[in-house]
């Protein structure tokens, strides 16, 4: 079994209005040290072991489904579990 953790974020060049809104809310709570907030998505997938190349599969799933590669970048970690 593999545990795959995928992080999807807007690219730096893309504005993140949701993050700006959360930053405003954090400031109104009084935490003025927070200078920037960006919001992304986080996916945890469990994959059964197979002969297929797991990195290739994860790349394809991210490109086709989990991330909009025009606006978002992604990275992932693969953890092997018993």
């Amino acid at each position: 079994m593999y545990l795959v953790k995928v992080y999807v974020m807007y690219k730096d060049s893309i504005l993140d209005p949701q993050g700006e809104a959360v930053k405003g809310a954090i400031h109104r709570l009084g935490y003025l040290a927070v200078e920037e907030v960006r919001i992304g998505k986080y996916f945890e997938m469990k994959l059964s072991k197979s002969d297929a190349d797991i990195e290739k599969q994860v790349n394809e799933i991210c490109d086709k489904l989990l991330a909009n590669v025009n606006m978002e970048s992604y990275r992932y970690e693969i953890v092997e579990e018993k």
Copy 2:
């Protein structure tokens, strides 16, 4: 400057219908090795350095704003940057 990475996930006891829907879509693409998908939120915050206790601030921001502690659990990493 600190970079704080916050991961918010539904607790294991809470159903994640969005994750189930994504799993269905992944299966329809032909990746049948994927057995479970859970979706969470990912926040990156930049905090300026101050005398205040950064862990305390981050805990408070998560409890009050970023996570619904009844249904969600969170974890975070704090990275010190120059």
